[in-house]
């Protein structure tokens, strides 16, 4: 498992978690991420948007162009059933992994 894959997988998971709360647009996801991680996690737009579109291609989110204020249109993303399923699976995997890591690191101390 190389570094970029790890990060990418993590980002997917984080996006899905944010969308589980409710539909949101790209900027909203980005700012929620900062809020929820208390500014510890920050994603660059250069990876956020490709990730969002990749999730959509995989059918884990769907999107709609909706009219927003100021005559602009925004793309709003919604999590799909497949997305929820993946979120649940990967959350479990992640927690199991984190637990193992903690155990190993804790024992080593």
């Amino acid at each position: 498992m190389n570094k970029s894959q790890l990060l990418q997988g993590t980002l997917d998971l984080l996006i899905l978690r944010i969308l589980e709360v409710g539909p949101n647009h790209g900027w909203g996801i980005s700012s929620r991420l900062q809020q929820m991680s208390k500014n510890r996690l920050k994603t660059s737009q250069g990876s956020l948007y490709p990730a969002l579109h990749r999730l959509e291609m995989r059918g884990e989110v769907r999107s709609e162009m909706t009219a927003s204020e100021n005559n602009r249109r925004a793309r709003v993303y919604t999590i799909t059933r497949a997305g929820r399923k993946r979120l649940n699976q990967e959350t479990e995997t992640w927690e199991a992994f984190a637990l193992s890591m903690r155990r190993v690191l804790g024992e080593g101390r």
């Binding site: 790209g26 900027w27 660059s44 737009q45 579109h53 995989r58 059918g59 602009r72 249109r73 925004a74």
Partner: protein, 875 residues
């Protein structure tokens, strides 16, 4: 899974919109970011600057996002663009391959389209495979009484019809016009399965003796003569001076055997005993066409008809005409004697397709060989085999599709030209189109060849191990199977020999034909036909009229001389009859085994002078030969030699007909004239008896004018119409045209074989050159070493010429054997030369030997100029 597929599909459909939407999405993001900064109290400019920095490279983000959405279609476009670039980078290869594909696909498609339209495509009638053509013994017509017997006895047919080709005079316009016509039984069109576009078909009620006369016309006649008006149905047409009601119009392009404009019923003609049709003792051109009951085979129908014929022979005596019967599928009959030409042409085109594909194969083989290095490197550094094959597939497909499109265009052009030079009498000419099935077939064939030889070697090369690669890298390429290349060269030589010798035979034939002395001067002779039909033309009026016509024609400016004849030279004899000498009885001739017979040709005085037929003895006909003067005749020298070898024929007498049934008076021979090729320049000279037309009047005759300058046919026809406006005049043409048309089957074969033979030789030369040149390129270092070790240029030259000699030594004999085998299909087309003519075969062999050696010599020469130092340094 389905969601994913749906998204991919949506992505594909919205491909163009995606980029714009991503840009919009990011702009929205930017604005929100700015607003957020402003809310936190930053001045707007600062907020924008910050937001832009956070967003990073906008373009890169758009590109990265779009890349996620990329589909297989994008990958395909990328591969296609790469393939186009690769092909553009090697223009010599690309151009040669394209030329080969265009030649292969274009010519084969055009020629096959013709062959398919004429030979293969079913007749334009529904369920045409159930239609059969029935004739009397040896293909002669069937007499009406026998046809009626057939119709009532035969059980094999749903229905049996008959028809005969004729011509009618239609009056009512400013001048009477003659049209080709066909007299048909009432069920004829129903047997063929034709539906009228206007009105109705004949029915049995129309054929009853008390019914009014009815006619149908062709679509062309309806459009041209009747203005295409639906109201024309029910109109009265004056045909042969009788009133016919027009009841229907046939569909456009309808044709049975020969084209005709007017169709009338046969039954009333039989009832009127027209041309003695009720008689058993007559000759006829009536032929039957039947629709077999479904499930009845042609063989079964033939067997039944032969049984019926045998029964008729018993009933009417063995001598009764029509004691035998010929029954063939209608399609076989329609193709007729064009079949040998088409076989030859189709064979030639298949050989050309073969040679082009062989060449293409060689070309691709060489290319794969020179790219093997590239492929092995690509696979060594991790390029997947599939990616490599996909790339090659796309390259070949691009090549084949481009070649296919250009080939189809070339095919259409070739087809247009060929249809233009094709003889008028060629069946179903108007139905020829560039055939899609054929085009697909030839394209698939070439593609299969391209893929087979273009990809397989490359696939093999991509499997080469890294170590082998290093070992081989010195040579720069791998050599494809040498045996395969040699086999390809042999195939090329063999095929080229076959085509070239065929072309040689046809050229020889045409030269021989052009050298045949027709016995008269065939140039500058304008002819047309006219017809003196009807009760208003008693013999006495005809006798005066012929001379009047000749006088008028001679008065036309540019006309040197003119005559009227019953048979046109080279077009065949219109009247063939037996004749007798004084004192000879039937038994005398039976003991000889044959009655004397000859072509009987009534002509006006001045006929021989007009045609420039030499007088050997005696005198030409002149104005002193009148209806009431001594009946006279002129014979040709063939006839004179046959019956009066050591005697003077002048003063002898002949009379037409059998000794027991004479026809006409005893005629005194007044002259012997030179032989002419009456039956056609490729035929044996026939015995001929000429007589003054005033002593033997005929109804439909040819006028011939010897012209000095160009005289339009219409000015000649006008001369006739000045005499009588009611005379139908038709079929104007020159004797040169008649002769050209007669040789058109051969001319087509010659043109096709010569062009294809030339192209085949060129292709073979290119192919051999390519292989040898490749060999020289591959062996540069070896040559360098040899030269460094003291080999002379001559030795190097011999090294490569030996290749050429080896190919010649095997290929030419193969080619000659194949040519002799193939020449049999030319047997009915050649004239004045045997199909195994050693001179022709020898010439073809010599030409190919020279071409092969030249194709080897050029690259071999370049080998002698290899600089040993340079060749070795590049190691």
């Amino acid at each position: 899974m389905i969601g994913r597929l749906f998204a991919a599909l949506r992505g594909l459909l919205r491909r163009r919109r995606i980029q714009a939407e991503i840009a919009e999405e990011l702009r929205d993001h930017l604005e929100r970011e700015v607003e957020a900064h402003v809310l936190r109290g930053l001045p707007p400019e600062e907020a924008r600057r910050l937001a832009l920095r956070d967003l990073g490279g906008l373009t890169q983000t758009i590109e990265a996002t779009r890349a996620v959405r990329a589909t297989w279609l994008d990958a395909f476009w990328r591969d296609l663009a790469y393939a186009a670039r690769v092909l553009r980078r090697s223009p010599r290869f690309t151009l040669t391959a394209l030329i080969l594909l265009v030649v292969a696909i274009g010519s084969t498609t055009a020629i096959f389209s013709i062959a398919y339209a004429v030979l293969v495509r079913p007749l334009p009638y529904p369920e045409a495979d159930r239609l059969v053509f029935v004739a009397g013994y040896d293909g002669a017509g069937v007499i009406w009484p026998n046809f009626e017997e057939w119709r009532s006895r035969a059980r094999s047919f749903d229905s049996l019809a008959s028809s005969l080709a004729d011509a009618v005079i239609v009056t009512g316009g400013p001048i009477p016009r003659r049209f080709e016509s066909r007299s048909v039984t009432a069920n004829f069109f129903r047997v063929l399965g034709v539906r009228p576009v206007q009105g109705r078909l004949f029915d049995d009620a129309d054929a009853r003796p008390d019914a009014a006369l009815t006619a149908m016309v062709s679509h062309a006649f309806w459009m041209r003569e009747l203005g295409g008006a639906p109201g024309a149905i029910g109109q009265t047409l004056s045909i042969n001076r009788k009133a016919f009601t027009l009841i229907g119009v046939l569909p456009p392009g309808f044709r049975y055997m020969t084209p005709a404009d007017v169709y009338i019923l046969l039954e009333p003609q039989v009832a009127a005993n027209y041309r003695g049709m009720q008689s058993r003792n007559t000759r006829t051109t009536l032929y039957a066409v039947g629709r077999l009951k479904s499930g009845v085979s042609v063989t079964a129908a033939r067997a039944e008809m032969q049984t019926i014929a045998a029964a008729l022979a018993l009933k009417y005596g063995a001598t009764a005409k029509g004691s035998d019967v010929t029954l063939v599928a209608l399609a076989d009959r329609v193709v007729g004697d064009m079949a040998p030409t088409l076989t030859v042409v189709t064979g030639a085109v298949m050989l050309l397709l073969l040679i082009a594909c062989v060449n293409l194969a060689g070309l691709l083989l060489n290319r794969s060989a020179s790219r093997a290095h590239e492929f092995s490197i690509r696979s060594a550094i991790g390029g997947s085999r599939w990616a490599l094959i996909r790339q090659l597939l796309i390259e070949q497909a691009l090549l084949v599709v481009t070649g296919g499109v250009l080939g189809a265009l070339a095919g259409a052009a070739i087809l247009t030209v060929l249809v233009r030079v094709a003889p008028r009498e060629m069946p179903r000419l108007d139905e020829i189109r560039l055939d899609i099935v054929v085009l697909t077939w030839t394209t698939l064939f070439s593609s299969a060849c391209a893929f087979l030889f273009g990809i397989l070697p490359a696939v093999k090369a991509s499997g080469v191990s890294g170590q082998e690669l290093v070992v081989r890298s010195g040579r720069g390429s791998t050599r494809p199977a040498t045996a395969l290349r040699k086999a390809l060269m042999l195939a090329e030589i063999t095929v080229a020999t076959v085509l070239l010798s065929g072309a040689g035979l046809m050229v020889h034939t045409m030269v021989r034909l052009s050298r045949v002395d027709p016995g008269f001067d065939p140039h500058n002779l304008q002819t047309f036909m006219f017809s003196l039909t009807g009760p208003q033309w008693p013999d006495a009026r005809k006798q005066v009229f012929y001379d009047a016509v000749v006088e008028r024609l001679r008065a036309v400016p540019g006309v040197e001389n003119a005559a009227v004849t019953y048979s046109l030279p080279t077009l065949g004899s219109n009247w063939w009859n037996v004749f007798n000498f004084p004192g000879k009885t039937r038994e005398d001739w039976i003991s000889v085994g044959e009655f004397p017979n000859a072509g009987m040709v009534p002509v006006t005085a001045g006929y021989f002078e007009t045609l420039r037929i030499p007088l050997i003895k005696g005198r030409y006909f002149n104005r002193s030969d009148t209806p009431d003067s001594l009946p006279v005749a002129i014979v040709n020298s063939s006839l004179a030699r046959k019956y009066w070898l050591n005697e003077d024929p002048v003063g002898k007498q002949v009379r037409q007909g059998f000794p027991t049934e004479p026809f006409g008076p005893w005629r005194t021979i007044v002259a012997v004239v030179g032989d002419i090729k009456q039956e056609g320049v490729d035929r044996e000279t026939s015995p001929q008896v000429f007589m003054p037309i005033v002593q033997q009047p005929r109804t439909t005759v040819f006028a011939i004018a010897r012209t000095r300058a160009t005289v339009t046919p219409s000015s000649l026809e006008m001369a006739i119409h000045e005499l009588d406006r009611t005379i139908p005049v038709f079929n104007d043409r020159t004797i040169d045209q008649v002769m050209r048309e007669a040789s058109s089957r051969r001319r087509i074969a010659m043109i096709v074989l010569s062009v294809f033979g030339g192209v085949a030789v060129l292709l073979a030369a290119i192919g051999i050159y390519g292989v040898i040149a490749q060999g020289v390129a591959e062996r540069r270092q070896e040559i360098g070493v040899r030269m460094a070790l003291g080999a002379t240029g001559g030795q190097i030259l011999r090294l490569f010429l030996r290749h050429g000699l080896a190919i010649v030594a095997v290929g030419i004999p193969c080619g000659i054997v194949a040519a002799v085998a193939a020449a049999r299909s030319l047997a009915s087309l050649v004239f004045g030369v045997t199909v195994t003519d050693p001179a022709t075969l020898g010439t073809a062999a010599a030409v190919l030997t020279a071409v092969t050696l030249l194709a080897c010599y050029v690259p071999a020469c370049s080998a002698t100029r290899v600089d040993p130092l340079e060749a070795l340094r590049s190691e």
